[in-house]
């Protein structure tokens, strides 16, 4: 159980990253250090909250206060006023453009009010560079279940029945795609994740990759198991350096901790994953890579 009584979530998505969210993290930590609060308050860099236009965003938990357009020099005020004295920093709250009301909890903002986050559930909630937080949110449970309790056919049926469709634009039924791939005979099959999001202004893939990279790896491994592919490839655009960096970290952590061998080559923008797919090898790490 954590001894922290407060979490400060700082957005580390591309938008906020570009407007110095790293410096905010440094300043917050310096302030906490100076006030002797490092053991009470935890600072976490997360993925995108989805509200990049008003970034950098800092969220204070547990009271769920949502600060917008935070500058590195605001760190001191946030610690002194909010963390220590429990007074919200009103000038950093979001102002509703119509009612002019200052909104403190993002749940009440027009932008978030009607959102139900499914794919982006962990985005802006966990630290994408820490596999522990992913596991705490039931991460890798689906893969674990699939590997130990289901046959590939059962997995495909499950995906078919769920009605899941491709998110890459075409909306092709995923279960059907996997079924066709599983029936195809080949010496070697691959799961290819196309992360070359090219449509101007489309950032949903980027958000998942940056904010919840393990979910992509887990899904690819599940797909690999169900179609009989022992390898996976992620093709990702060079314009997404943060997503590439986070994916590489995720792959390393998954390889060290969740024991199927995942291998990747780092020299290009193609990341190669290597899942050990046979049931008996699934949890026996292969060290060679």
């Amino acid at each position: 159980m954590s001894k922290y009584s407060m979490h400060l979530l700082v957005c580390g998505g591309t938008g906020c990253h570009a407007s110095e969210s790293d410096a905010i993290v440094c300043n917050l930590r310096d302030e906490l250090e100076a006030k002797g609060l490092m053991d009470t308050v935890q600072v976490i860099l997360t993925g995108c909250f989805g509200f990049c236009e008003k970034g950098p965003i800092v969220k204070v938990m547990p009271d769920n206060t949502f600060y917008v357009q935070v500058k590195p020099e605001d760190a001191q005020t946030i610690i002194e006023e909010h963390v220590i004295k429990g007074r919200k920093v009103t000038r950093l709250l979001y102002q509703d453009p119509v009612s002019k009301e200052m909104i403190s909890d993002s749940k009440h903002m027009g932008f978030f009010k009607k959102q139900l986050r499914i794919v982006l559930r962990n985005c802006g909630f966990i630290n994408p560079e820490n596999i522990d937080e992913y596991i705490a949110r039931d991460g890798y449970q689906a893969l674990g279940k699939v590997l130990s309790e289901m046959t590939p056919e059962q997995v495909i049926k499950e995906v078919r029945d769920s009605g899941q469709r491709g998110r890459g634009g075409g909306g092709f039924p995923t279960g059907l795609k996997w079924e066709i791939a599983s029936k195809n005979k080949a010496d070697q099959k691959y799961v290819v994740c196309n992360a070359d999001e090219g449509d101007p202004g489309a950032f949903m893939d980027r958000s998942v990759l940056e904010g919840d990279p393990h979910s992509v790896l887990e899904a690819m491994a599940i797909c690999g198991y169900s179609i009989g592919a022992s390898h996976g490839l992620i093709y990702i655009r060079a314009e997404y350096p943060l997503a590439i960096a986070r994916l590489k970290i995720a792959i390393k952590q998954a390889r060290n901790m969740v024991c199927w061998a995942i291998r990747f080559s780092a020299q290009s923008t193609v990341l190669i994953l290597n899942f050990a797919m046979e049931q008996e090898h699934l949890y026996a790490v292969k060290k060679q890579h």
């Binding site: 004295k85 007074r87 002019k100």
Partner: protein, 133 residues
Amino acid sequence: MSKITSLADLKKKRDELKGGLDIRVKAIDPDSVVQVKVAMATCGIASGAKTVMEFFLEQLERRNIAAIVTQTGCMGYCYAEPTIEVKLPGQDPVVYGFVDLKRADQIIEKYIKTGELVDGIIPVNYQTIDFKE
């Protein structure tokens, strides 16, 4: 980093790690859990508010009560420190004064668990104004 070698292992690991995100999970809907605010201005700290806050953090967790414990500034009741505000889900907040560990324990056992009021309530003597700019 420890290696995970089975699904049971993975589940165990998850259950161990879950607590680390507790604060964030509760923050999704703070009004559904008990909220305790401990006044932590100079006078509060001088009369033991820090110990009281630690007590609540520790005991609510030990007694399995989903709660958010935060600190707040001076509530203006310096004569009655340490003061705390307790808000049960769906109810108006109640302020308690002179909260030592004994009273803190009563507040958890009686007010938080059963809703029964205990001694030390500071009656509401102000109105909250919702101001719009």
